[in-house]
Amino acid sequence: MNRTFDRYASIVFLLLGIGFMWQSASISATSYGSTVGPNIFPFGLGLVLVLLSIRLFYEVMKTKPNEQKKAQLDYKRFFIIFITAFLYAYFLEFIGYIIGTFVFLLVAFQTIERGKWLKSILIAGLFSISVYVIFVVLLEGSMPGFPSWLS
């Protein structure tokens, strides 16, 4: 059990619970034809969440800290891939599906293991083009293929 994480998690859930309770107070209390309005359910749940997170906080305090060796996490690769994925998702509509996916896959392949450029390019290209062709051409789905400023 990771005590630090659990402690922060219990505080976050506590705040979320309070937030939901506070916000549900501003929802109208009754709806037409019923004494039971749309505010009761979220308010009650928020209350339960608050109680549970206090309980979790108490449980964490009770457990003794036990130092356990954590495997070293590979943050560098993860952040490169995650940031690339974020940029890919954020700019998907701007740069289009084919180019975006190709670049994302190529960067991610090379981040995990350098080298074999030809194979990486082939797989990335094949994947992005074939998904686009199947989805947009055959299934007539809508997906920005190429950036609108290019065509």
């Binding site: 059990m1 990771n2 994480f5 659990d6 998690a9 859930f13 979320l16 939901f20 916000q23 549900s24 929802i27 109208s28 709806s31 034809g33 019923s34 004494t35 039971v36 309005g37 749309p38 009761i40 359910f41 979220p42 749940l45 928020g46 339960v48 969440l49 549970l52 997170s53 309980r55 979790l56 449980e59 495997a71 590979d74 943050y75 690769r77 993860f78 891939i81 995650f82 994925a85 974020f86 890919y88 998702a89 954020y90 998907l92 509509e93 996916t101 994302f104 896959l105 991610a108 392949f109 995990i112 293991e113 994947f127 998904v131 989805f135 299934l139 007539e140 789905g141 809508s142 997906m143």
Partner: protein, 508 residues
């Protein structure tokens, strides 16, 4: 019409060529999902919802729902077949429900009997799958006719029971599981309230009016969460695999495993019906039972074929059994069935007692296709097991980025919103962090799926009683469900107090 007529109609649906194709791809992908260590049945099913949604977009709504659910269910039970392959050949289970299979399966592989172990696992899964289906066919209609008399109060309590059962058995800490459940229920309240039309927790942001999309959250939490874990833990190695050798089991093997398969099927099926107890528990229990009834318990762990046959049958029977509460009551008992339910709701099809009346095509088509799918799996797994053994060696280097790309594609194809893609990535990180710190994810998804239904039933019940909460205790059915729900949470806590080991369901 009686059950057989319905079943015949179901076969008419399931035997349409595109549905056979969907069943085939479902079980094929399912087996691969089971074989690949990085993705389990939950992320596999979640990942494929958007793909099937775009594939079936040309069909009329009900046919589209049938075809997609056929494929998704195929992935679910196909993964149970595939999971055994890595357990036996690599000593690393492809998913949690085949953890026990490693004990005897890998030993058999070391003795050069990998082929026999694999084929017994496939035969056992097939027999168990058939058994579960026959039981499902027999129980479906009586159960839904009981459930149809449930009032809103009964339904509310029953769903509460389902949530408590899943929380009580998921993961190490019940408090954490309950937090995840409540959080899932709260997330479900975001958006337009279906009863009164009031916007809740939207802060005036138009994107939030339709609520957080279930699909985005499920794909993010499960598929991306697992992918991020693999990247962060540098867990790419696949290792060497054992030689398979002769695939067909000997007559002695068949004789030795007949009884374990039967026991595993029956036990697995009934454990599968219980909410919260899924395939993982079923396989553990059946292994323990086999060890107890065996004349030579000391041979377990040293390559006893019963130690492969029983748990593999049990986990497959459990996945069939888990379909019963989903289809007849509309209550998913595990993370994977919750995702299946979410998929059905996406197609505007509400699982529950009315499903068999309102959408017989979907319900019976699915049941019939599961018979076909199990047959396909047997064919796929016996001669082609060597091909699937090759799938294990797919380099993770290519697989992991492609899973991210499929998630992004799938969510965008269905939602067409960049907001959902950002939410997807956020859920991926949340999924990784939560799962790493023993916060189980299955209850969250369950809460998210059941949230609107619980709330509607609660409000309907309270409206009839003029806001009096005692109605949940006055209706006998509702009271019974609530008592069971309390016991389900309380008994494990009491057992833990007494220092007893409590078996938990890691898969959820």
């Amino acid at each position: 019409m009686n059950v057989l007529d319905y079943l015949a109609d179901g076969f008419m649906t399931a035997l349409q060529w595109h549905n056979i194709l969907f069943a085939f791809f479902g079980v094929l992908i399912g087996t691969s999902v089971g074989v690949l260590p990085g993705i389990g049945p939950m992320s596999g099913v979640a990942l494929l919802i958007p793909v099937t949604a775009s594939m079936t977009s040309g069909l009329p709504p009900e046919a589209a729902a049938t075809s997609s659910i056929i494929l998704l269910a195929g992935v679910y039970y196909g993964a149970m077949y595939g999971g055994s392959t890595t357990s036996i050949l690599l000593n690393t289970p492809g998913e949690s429900s085949s953890v026990v299979t490693t004990l005897d399966g890998y030993q058999m592989a070391k003795q050069g009997r990998a082929g026999a172990a694999l084929s017994i696992a496939a035969i056992g899964s097939f027999v168990a799958g058939l058994f579960a289906l026959v039981a499902l066919i027999a129980l479906a209609q009586p159960l839904s006719s009981v459930a149809i008399n449930f009032g809103p109060a009964d339904y509310f309590s029953l769903m509460l029971l389902g949530l408590c059962a899943v929380s009580g058995l998921a993961g190490k800490s019940i408090t954490k599981a309950l937090i995840m459940t409540v959080f899932g229920l709260l997330l479900a309240t975001i958006g337009m309230d279906t009863v009164s039309g009031v916007a809740r927790f939207t802060f005036g942001i138009p994107l939030l009016y339709s609520g957080l999309e279930f699909l985005t959250i499920a794909v993010g939490l499960f598929a991306l969460g697992e992918v991020f874990k693999t990247i962060l833990e540098k867990d790419y190695s696949s290792g060497g695999i054992a030689k398979i050798g002769r695939v067909l089991p000997s007559r002695q093997d068949l004789k030795d495993s007949a009884a374990p398969i039967t026991r595993g099927s029956i036990l697995g099926f009934f454990i599968g019906i219980l909410p919260g107890a899924g395939a993982t528990l079923a396989s553990f229990f059946s292994y323990i039972v086999e060890k107890k009834v065996s004349k030579k318990p000391e041979t377990f762990g040293k390559g006893n074929i019963a130690g492969v046959a029983a748990p593999e049958s049990a986990n497959n029977a459990a996945s069939g059994g888990a379909m019963i509460p989903l289809l007849t009551l509309g209550i998913p008992g595990s993370g994977t069935t919750a995702i299946l339910m979410g998929a059905l709701i996406m197609y505007n099809i509400q699982p529950g007692p009315l499903l068999f009346e309102e959408h017989p095509q979907v319900a019976w088509g699915l049941i019939a296709s599961m018979l076909i799918g199990n047959l396909l799996l047997l064919v796929l797994n016996m001669p082609l097991v060597k091909v699937f053994a090759k799938v294990i060696q797919t380099p993770a280097k290519y697989l992991i980025p492609i899973i991210i790309a499929i998630s992004v594609f799938g969510v965008y194809a269905v939602q067409a919103q960049v907001f959902d893609l950002i939410l997807l990535l956020g859920c991926g990180i949340a999924g990784f962090l939560l799962a790493r710190n023993d916060f189980p994810l299955a209850p969250l998804v369950l809460g998210l799926v059941l949230g609107p239904m619980i709330e509607n039933n609660m409000r309907r019940a309270l409206t009839t009683s003029n806001g009096d909460f005692m109605i949940f205790l006055q209706k006998p059915m509702s009271l019974a469900f609530l008592i069971i729900a309390v016991l389900w949470i309380a008994v494990p806590i009491l057992l833990k107090r007494r220092g007893k080991e409590v078996v938990v369901n890691e898969e959820g």
